[in-house]
Amino acid sequence: MFKKLLQFEVFYQFKQRAFPIFAILFLALGVFVGRQGFAPKGVNFNAVYQVYFHTSIFTLGSVFIIMFFAISATLRDKQFNMESLIYSSSIKKSQYFWSRFLGTFIFSVLAFSPFLIGYIFGNFFSDLNTERLGDFRLMTYLQPWLYIVLPNVFICATIVFSVSTLTKSSIATYASAVFIYMLYFISAIFLNSPLLAQSVPASPESMALAAVADSFGVAAFFEQTQYWTPFQKNTQLLSLSGLFLLNRLVWLLASIGILFATYSVFSFRKTTKKVKKAPKQKIDKVQILLYKPINALHNFKAQQIAFYTLLRLELKNIFKSLPFIAVLMMWLLIVFSELFSTVIGGGEYGVSVYPFTNQLIDLFLDQLTLFSLILIVFYSSEIVWRERDLNFNSIVDATPVKNGVFFLSKFTTLLSLSMILITSGILICMVFQISLNYANFEFSLYASLYYHYGVQLVAFSMISLFINSLAKSKYMGMGISGLIVLLSLKSGILGLEHPLTSLGFLPRLEYNNMDGFNGVSNLFNHLAIYWLALGLILTVLSFKIWNRGLVTSFLVKLKQLTLYWTRGQKITMAISIVLFLGAGSLVYYNINIVSDYETISDQLEYRENYERKFKKYDSIERLYPTSKKTKVDIYPKERVFTVTADYMLKNKSEQPLSELFITERVSLENVTIENARLIAHDTLYGTYLFKYDKPLQPNDSVRYTYKLKKEVKGYEEDNSIVNNGTYINRFGNFEPILGYTSSLEISNKSERKKRNLPERVEEDNSDAHIVFEDIKYEKIRFETVISTSSDQTAISSGRLLKQWSENNRNYFHYKSSIKILPEVGYFSAKYASKKIDYKGISIEQYYDANHDFNIEDIENSVKQTLDYCQDSFGDYAFDHVRIAEVPSYWRFGGFAHPGVISMVEDRLYLTNVSNEDTFNVVAKRTIHEVAHQWWGHTLSAKPVAGGPLFVEGFAKYTEAVVLEKMYGKRALYTLAEDVRSRYFRGRSFASSVEPPVYKVNSQSYIAYGKALTVMLGLRDLIGENQVNKVLKIMTDRHRSINKLAATSVELLEEIYKVTPAEQHVLVNDWFKKLITYDLGIEESSYKELANGSYEVTVKVKSKRFETLDSGESKQISIDEPIKIGVFTAHPSDVKDNSSILYYESNMINKEETTLKIIVNKLPKYISIDPFGTRSDENLVDNIKRL
């Protein structure tokens, strides 16, 4: 009997048209994903990691399939009124239940599995670069199917099937499917899952929690593979162990539990509907009224009142519906947790930001669009088709209510959904602000949300309503509008990257407290009109074809469109079309004509041609500036600046030169070279070729002048010249390039191959290259006169010689007293300022008047850094430290120019470090940038491999030692944890083979990461004084050399000189090899001794690994001193020595070592290497509570 039932179930589900559709859909999806050739660099397209990654994410899509099969399995009897027939047959409950469940499960698996088959096809039968395809291995695809697809489909099927069986309601079933999604996203967002790019990496603890909580196993997969190097990603299968195993087990058991619980609760042959006791009606004596007809009115007022009653009913229906309640709850929870975790829990380094309105709303904007679109897609069809679904349409459609009123009531309802989300988000923000005693609500900024985020949602609401009016059924409407919304988010795929063709596209407006909304708002406004006008056109149309009575066919609807146009409709239509075309042409004009719109292929074309035409000039020896004088006039309101520059250029080569080639960045109004004439100029590529009247001899100099005007054209986004907070730096540089620039060349290898361009020469980073490469750039003399509007202050490098006002503008004349790196910036903003003199150095701060929370902290940190660095590394090079605030457009923490430091508003000025227990990120950033005045500006490294060690590595080191002095070892703990995850995360996504520290180049995960670990290890090994002595020797040696000359080879020589010979191997290991550790406390205990002291017994684990050139990691022997500490507080809370009972180096030479330590106070924590002197993936197991 069971077999028969299952057979029928299989037969029935198989006959469903949906089965082949789903299967083909997922097959196609698999092919599409498999052939897209998108993998982190160094990882094969068919690497195990990639297959897992895509499969686990796309199993999220299986919920739809499951929902469909579950509904068809459990609700078809009810839908087709077969219930009484089935229930009166002799089927047993168990047979019924299990056959239907198995049917659902098996078919969901069958419909999803083609995804993997498609993936294989996509991998192997497309034009993917074969260099990046590994050999076909069945397990690569079979293992994800076993570990991810089967369990995930089973888990989801259990939940959806149970809901469907118990409620017998399709709405509840959809809701459960939506719920599973939301649950996933919530756990992803709340627990900081790595899938969603979070600015702050998750802590190991929350990572572990997420790994277990995520029912799809995505987080668990990420947890296991987070630090996998490309080599591992290519070769290693997932191991069914640890958190991944736990996750699979927990969820499988939970779903089996759910299934059996459902089975026992589910009562066959009885409707599960609860019989509610009817409320007792009062049998009240009422006067019997006789029916008499009442004349009705059909005027405007009648329509108005009808609108209100319809709207009320629609809203009531929605507010009472489960999916809406679920989405709203999730939304509130997410907004709350986002705000809570950032504002109260803390962001980067666990530090929170002052609750400025823009900071808060920024936290929920991404989710706002996502949630609103879900609601719009779901409810647009729900609302449009409601009466038809209930079969109530023949009654309401026969009432004398105009189409417009029905339409408007539904439209308003749909709109109100997004508005409710926005409003509730705002309210939560305000609650947070109030609770944090922040009173500057900036209502206008809150109100702007309705415009900046509402418009897109209004447009999508209109589009969805139109689609549903046109569609033949509810699901068709829902499906198509869902598809359109999805495609609009990815319109690039369809080759519709132009803003006018990506449906509903509106640029994300950046707002910051300093500068407000920037120039993007023009594009936004024009596009807003454009999309609203399109929406209005569709709205008029949808209302012409509004379904009244029976649903008519598509052709009839087309006919309907042409008939019975009222004057109002005609006028609305005409106005909409005019607006649509008008705004469209305006956007087109600004994008395509004013700013030369370029598609990606246009850009590649441009780059290819530049290379072909001008590569020949690459061989001309360049001239190098020895002095620069500029005059920069900044017009912040107009967003314009002009530059007049006057440089001296020198021939530093050995031969006389006859030609000079220039590539401009901003088009030049005028350019001259002394004793040379312009012989060729290409306006399209902005290149100039000069010929000297007579060849320029070695060491001879010429004068070079140019003039330019930079204005923001069309919709150009330029954050360097803004209304308040202009900051012209190397990222928005205007300087022409003196020569051919390879930065314009196409760098992508396969693209070069396709275009028949020669392969580019790999960078040489041999030791010999590091030592002998001849870098001709040098420090220069610099002088500038900057002018700006009368309400702003302009800043640049150099001593301020003079300051005056003229023609209602402010002028500032700066001149460097020594030669400096030509890395200068130009600032202009409405600045408040604070200047003090500290031991002959003037500390000058320029900041927005509202952002004065951390000024004292910054000043104090500058002083401490100056003291430490002058003591340890020699004199400060300038007589001033000038710190200027820049708007949060800039994504870095700060930037050090010679004597001048830029600091970003939200990452320094608006962070809240008022609580003594929080990590002082303000001090951290300040120390770092001030330290750069030594590391970079005084000790300038040769820009070759190893250079960043001097610049960033030493700055991180200074940061660590000064912070430790100021705040104790707990600061080291926070830094070490950050550095650890930065390094391991960075190397796992590294694009090229990881270099050792002394050859670090562009790998920020080493410069900002491992370099600090190594430096701190070195400090423990030879002592802080010795390390600083080496740094001082280097600094003194290079201080007065204009050239950028220091190399890591030279540094290592100095280090060896002060290191005992027996430790050279270890230093060598750290700087020149890739060594990682696995340290941890295995067991620990303590007992009180007779004399009142305590004996701690600890077993430590210590493994050491070397990463070979192949990428493989191999365990090697260990024999080195490692710090072990006993504390009365967790190492992250250690403020001073009072909580340190023991902290000594112990020689460790085995995988496991047992030690006994005597301390004189009750020990609380024991730890091996608590403050990050070794590269160890897992810092958590280094510490154990006793």
Binding site: P279, Y291, A296, F392
Partner: protein, 295 residues
């Protein structure tokens, strides 16, 4: 006096089914009964008059307004009870009726309340007014449907199988109410209970395969077959023989015995007795003739 004139009305569905096939009717105040088998086109005709579907061709005039072209005009005058309908869950009968009253254009709150109360009393739902219509039994829901069709001041009331599911007492009450109202307005009633039409409707039509095959006053129509309906009790096994020999229009079981009715101008055979024809006999006779004609 209201008039509804239907000219050459045709409706062909996209699947080719001709639901209405050249219907011509003129209806004035009073009850108009529409008889016909399942699928004869009754509901299609009623939906088309109620402006819920557009005819393929033909016109409908209500008081000289072309309601195919101006569907909105008929909705102002209409009370419509569809054959089947559903309602929103979780809304009480009183609230839903009030909602519909607003949609029908009763703006005065007091008047609205009075009419809603009166109608609920009239259809015997007053004591259930706080309950959701969604939870009503079939009969109760039907009564609610009747109530909403009478809201405001309809000049044209279209009721599709209104008494289906009602017990005889309720059914009577409703029909009495309808005939009272029907004195001043047009009421179009479709039903399969032939006797209801005879009792209530001064005019009627029989619909078959989308065509009107007979139209007129029930009594006059029945008179046309007076003396031509013969009946006989026969053994069941001989039924086929009789069907071949005579024009058997209907078969009935009377106290467990098979009674046939035959249409004939003369006495068909011994044992047959002439009886006074009922509307039902006329209905069957008409269908029988129609079937023979097409065969």
């Amino acid at each position: 006096m209201n008039t509804l004139i239907i000219n050459d009305l045709t409706k062909t569905y996209p699947n080719g089914v001709k639901a209405l096939d050249g219907i011509n009717l003129k209806i004035t105040n009073g009850m108009f009964g529409l008889l016909g088998a399942n699928g004869a086109g009754k509901s299609s005709l009623m939906r088309t008059i109620a402006s819920l579907q557009i005819p393929s061709s033909g016109s409908i005039f209500f008081n000289d307004i072309n309601i195919v072209k101006q569907p909105h005009e008929i909705r102002k005058q209409l009370g419509y009870l569809p054959q089947e309908f559903g309602v929103y869950p979780k809304i009480s009968a009183e609230k839903l009726l009030n909602h519909l009253a607003i949609l029908k254009g009763i703006l005065n709150k007091k008047e609205r309340k009075e009419q809603v109360t009166a109608l609920l009393q009239q259809v015997n739902l007053y004591q259930h007014r706080k309950k959701a219509v969604y939870t009503f039994s079939g009969g109760m829901r039907q009564r609610f449907g009747i109530a909403q069709a009478l809201l405001a001041n309809p000049k044209l009331i279209i009721v599709d199988e209104p008494t289906a599911g009602l017990d005889p007492e309720e059914s009577n009450r409703f029909l009495n109410l309808l005939s009272e109202i029907g004195e001043n307005v047009i009421v179009i009633l479709s039903t399969h209970i032939v006797e209801d039409v005879r009792d209530l409707c001064p005019k009627m039509a029989i619909l078959s395969n989308g065509k009107i095959i007979s139209e007129g006053n029930p009594t006059e129509l029945v008179a046309t077959i007076d003396g031509r309906i013969w009946t006989k009790i026969i053994p069941k096994k001989n039924l086929e023989i009789y069907k071949k020999a005579f024009d058997v229009i209907s078969t009935k079981l009377v106290s467990g015995e098979t009674q046939i009715r035959v249409l004939s101008k003369t006495k068909p055979e011994t044992g047959f007795e002439v009886i006074a024809p009922s509307l039902e006999d006329f209905y069957f006779a008409t269908l029988f003739n129609q079937a023979n004609k097409t065969a």
